[in-house]
C-alpha cells in the first residue's frame, strides 16, 4: 500500500519529523535511525558551519533538512534566516518560526503569515509553525504554505493535544498536510493526533529528555505508524446504546 506524505512535491514514507534542538548531538544518528526519521529540523542559529559542535555535521546523509527560523521576531528577520539556510546548503524547505514572546514562546501568527508569503515568493517550501486558528490557516494557504504546523501545547511542555478541537478544524478544512508541532509529550499523544487525521507529528523534547533516547524514538515511530493506520482503517463504530431509540422517530412516514 502506498501511503506517502507529500510536502511541496517531495514524498516521504515517514510521518515522524524530528526536532533537534534539545539533543546531545552524538545521539542524533541513533534517534534518526530508530525513529525511521526522514526529515529533521535544525535551528540555523545553532548551525556553526566550520566550527565546534556544528549540528550539520551530525545529520546523516539522505535526511531532508528542515531549517527553522528560530530567533526571528519579524517576517523580515525570518526571511533573512531562511536565505542564510539556503546559503548553508540546507535546501529549500524552511519551517517558519516567528516568536516575539520569550516567556511562552508562542508563535506570532500575523508575522508568520507575512513571512510565509515572502518565502514562498522566493521559492522556499514553507512550513509555518502556528497557533491553530482556522482563519490564519486559510491565510497561510493563500500565502503559499506547503504545510501547516499547529502547536499541540506550549513548546517543551509535553502536555499533548491541548488544542485538539482546533487542530481538528484544520484537518477538516485545510487542504495541506497538517503537522502537529510542539507539546507532544508521549507516544500515545502522537498516536492520538495521527488517529484524528493529522498528516505527521513533530517531536523533540519528549525524546531528548527520555531516559533511553533511542528506545523512545522507536516508540514514537511505532505510535505514529499505528495512529496513521488507525486513521486509514477508519475508527471502528463505537456502540452508543443511548442513541438506540426504543421507538422509531420516523415510523409515521408513508411508504
Amino acid at each position: 500500500m502506498s501511503d506517502k506524505l507529500v510536502i511541496g512535491g517531495h514524498e516521504f514514507q515517514s510521518r515522524f519529523i524530528l526536532g533537534s534542538g534539545k539533543f546531545s548531538l552524538e545521539m542524533t544518528d541513533k534517534v534518526i535511525k530508530n525513529g525511521g526519521v526522514e526529515m529533521a529540523t535544525l535551528a540555523i542559529r545553532r548551525a556553526n558551519a566550520g566550527g565546534e559542535e556544528n549540528i550539520l555535521d551530525y545529520m546523516p546523509k539522505g535526511i531532508t533538512l528542515l531549517p527553522n527560523t528560530s530567533g526571528a521576531r519579524t517576517a523580515k528577520e525570518a526571511l533573512r534566516i531562511a536565505r542564510l539556510a539556503r546559503e548553508l546548503g540546507c535546501g529549500d524547505f524552511v519551517k517558519v518560526e516567528v516568536i516575539r514572546d520569550s516567556k511562552y514562546l508562542m508563535p506570532d501568527n500575523y508575522e508568520t503569515i507575512k513571512a510565509t508569503e515572502l518565502m514562498a515568493k522566493e521559492g522556499f517550501i514553507v512550513m509555518p509553525y502556528m497557533y491553530p486558528d482556522l482563519n490564519v490557516a486559510r491565510e497561510l494557504v493563500d500565502a503559499g504554505a506547503a504545510a501547516v504546523m499547529p502547536l499541540g501545547a506550549p513548546i517543551g511542555s509535553n502536555k499533548g493535544l491541548m488544542t485538539k478541537e482546533f487542530i481538528k478544524m484544520l484537518v477538516e478544512e485545510i487542504d495541506l498536510p497538517i503537522i502537529v508541532d510542539a507539546g507532544i509529550g508521549r507516544p500515545s499523544q502522537a498516536c492520538e493526533a495521527m488517529e484524528m487525521g493529522v498528516d505527521a507529528v513533530m517531536a523533540n523534547t519528549a525524546i531528548a529528555t527520555a531516559n533511553d533516547v533511542g528506545l523512545m524514538a522507536q516508540a514514537f515511530k511505532k505510535a505514529i505508524e499505528a495512529g496513521r493506520e488507525a486513521y486509514l482503517a477508519g475508527l471502528g463504530r463505537v456502540l452508543n446504546f443511548k442513541a438506540e431509540a426504543s421507538s422509531p422517530l420516523t415510523g409515521f412516514l408513508e411508504d
Partner: protein, 383 residues
C-alpha cells in the same frame, strides 16, 4: 570635602524613561518578610506547576533551604523542558579597567591602586582572534566604568571587531542612554548585562561612594533603556553577599519579571555573582551566601522564570559549576581571564576579582560532555 549627590537622583545628561518598575520592585522588596514562611508553605508550592511572585518569595526563604534536594529535582525538569541538554559557552574579554566609581566591594574601584590599562584596537583584534581560535562564538566585552578612558565610540569600535569573529556579542559596561545602546546595537552588540549590585537603596548609597554609578535609578533602568535601544536580551543580577541576599535576589527576580512583562520579546537572563577577594582586599567574601544559598537562589530563578537563561560565573569552583549546568544554569564561561587582555597579548591591567575556575575552553567542553550535556557554541543569529 565634596558633597556627593543624592543617590536616588539622576545626573545631568542621564536619560529618564517612563517606567514604574522601580517603584513596584521597591514596594514588594520592602514588604518581603522571608522569615514568615514555613515548611508547609514550601511543600505546598513545590507541588505547583507555575510559580507566582508569592511562591518565588517562598522559594527564597530560609524555610526553603531545607528542601534544596526536592527543589533541585524540580528545577532540573524545568531546565530540560526548556533547554534540553544544551549548555551555551562563552568567555569575557576585559578591554579596559579604568574606573571613575568608588564602589567599596570592587577591585576596579577608582581608589584601589592597581595597574590600569586599556587595549588598543589592534590588541583587541589579536585577543579576539585568539579567543575565536578556541572555537567560541559568544563573547562578552567588558570595561571598567570610565567614560573618559573607555568612551562609547571606543567600545563601539571594539564591538565592530568582535562582530566579525563572533555570532553573539554582549557588553557589560557602564549604563548608557537609549541612543548609545542603539549605537552599540548597530555596531553589532545584542546583549547587555547590568547588575544592580544591591537593590536596597540605603545599602546602595553606602557602597557607592562616588561616581556616576551612585545614581541608583539610572542603573536600575539600564535594561529598559537597552531594550528601547534595540538590544535583544538583557541580564539581571545582584552581587550576592553585599546586602541582604534574600531580598536582593527577590528584587532582581522581580525586576526581570516586570521587564519581561513590559517587553515580552526581550530575552531574559540572570547572573549570580558572589563577592570575591580582589587585589588589596584578599578578605572580601560573600558573607552568609555559601554554596547552598547560592544554589537556592539559582533554583528559585529557574522555577520562577523557567524560560530565562542562567549564567554560572568563574567566581565559583569547577565542582560547583559542573553540577549546576543542566540543573538550573544554561550558560557557562570558559577560558576566563579577568585582567585586561591576557589571552594572547600580555596583560595590560590587573584583575577585577579572583576567579575560582581557570579551566580552558576545551576542558569545560569536556566537562559538559561528561555531564551528559551538549556544549553549544552558537545559539544566536544577528538578523
Amino acid at each position: 570635602m565634596q558633597v556627593e549627590m543624592n543617590h536616588m537622583e539622576y545626573m545631568p545628561d542621564m536619560d529618564v524613561i517612563e517606567s514604574d518598575i522601580m517603584d513596584r520592585v521597591q514596594k514588594k522588596m520592602k514588604a518581603y518578610d522571608y522569615n514568615c514562611y514555613t515548611k508547609e508553605d514550601v511543600i505546598r508550592i513545590l507541588n505547583k506547576e507555575q510559580m507566582s511572585i508569592e511562591d518565588f518569595a517562598v522559594l527564597l526563604s530560609p524555610a526553603a533551604e531545607g528542601f534544596l534536594e526536592n527543589t533541585a529535582h524540580k528545577a532540573q525538569l524545568e531546565t530540560k523542558k526548556h533547554f534540553g541538554n544544551a549548555v551555551s559557552m562563552f568567555t569575557p574579554l576585559y578591554i579596559a579597567n579604568y574606573c571613575e566609581n568608588h564602589c567599596v566591594y570592587c577591585g576596579f574601584n577608582c581608589q584601589n591602586k592597581i595597574k590600569r590599562g586599556k587595549l588598543s584596537m589592534d590588541e583587541i583584534e589579536t585577543e579576539l582572534q585568539t579567543i575565536a581560535s578556541t572555537g567560541l562564538q559568544d563573547i562578552l566585552l567588558l570595561t571598567g566604568e570610565s567614560r573618559k578612558h573607555s568612551d562609547v565610540e571606543y567600545i563601539g569600535e571594539a564591538v565592530k571587531i568582535a562582530a566579525k569573529y563572533f555570532s553573539t556579542v554582549g557588553i557589560e559596561i557602564y549604563p548608557l542612554n537609549v541612543k548609545e545602546y542603539a549605537y552599540l546595537r548597530e555596531c553589532g552588540a545584542d546583549f547587555v548585562s547590568v547588575y544592580q549590585e544591591t537593590y536596597h537603596t540605603d545599602k546602595y548609597e553606602k557602597v557607592h561612594l562616588s561616581g556616576h554609578k551612585r545614581s541608583y535609578p539610572y542603573r536600575f533602568y539600564s535594561q529598559e533603556r537597552a531594550i528601547l535601544g534595540g538590544m535583544r536580551g538583557v541580564a539581571f543580577g545582584a552581587l550576592l553577599g553585599l546586602g541582604d541576599f534574600r531580598k536582593d535576589a527577590f528584587a532582581a527576580g522581580l525586576h526581570a519579571y516586570y521587564v519581561q512583562q513590559k517587553y515580552p520579546h526581550a530575552e531574559i537572563s540572570f547572573s549570580l555573582p558572589r563577592l570575591r577577594p580582589y587585589i588589596n582586599n584578599s578578605k572580601a567574601n560573600p558573607n552568609d551566601v555559601h554554596e547552598a544559598q547560592l544554589l537556592q537562589v539559582m533554583l528559585a530563578y529557574r522555577l520562577f522564570m523557567p524560560f530565562a537563561g542562567i549564567t554560572i560565573s568563574t567566581r565559583e569552583r569547577a565542582g560547583f559549576r559542573d553540577h549546576v549546568i543542566g540543573m538550573c544554569a544554561t550558560r557557562i564561561s570558559a577560558g576566563v581571564k579577568v585582567g585586561v587582555g591576557g589571552h594572547e597579548e600580555e596583560k595590560k591591567g590587573d584583575e577585577q576579582f579572583e576567579i575560582a575556575d581557570p579551566r580552558s575552553v576545551k576542558q569545560v567542553h569536556e566537562a559538559i560532555l561528561n555531564r551528559g550535556l551538549q556544549p553549544v557554541y552558537t545559539d544566536y543569529i544577528r538578523v
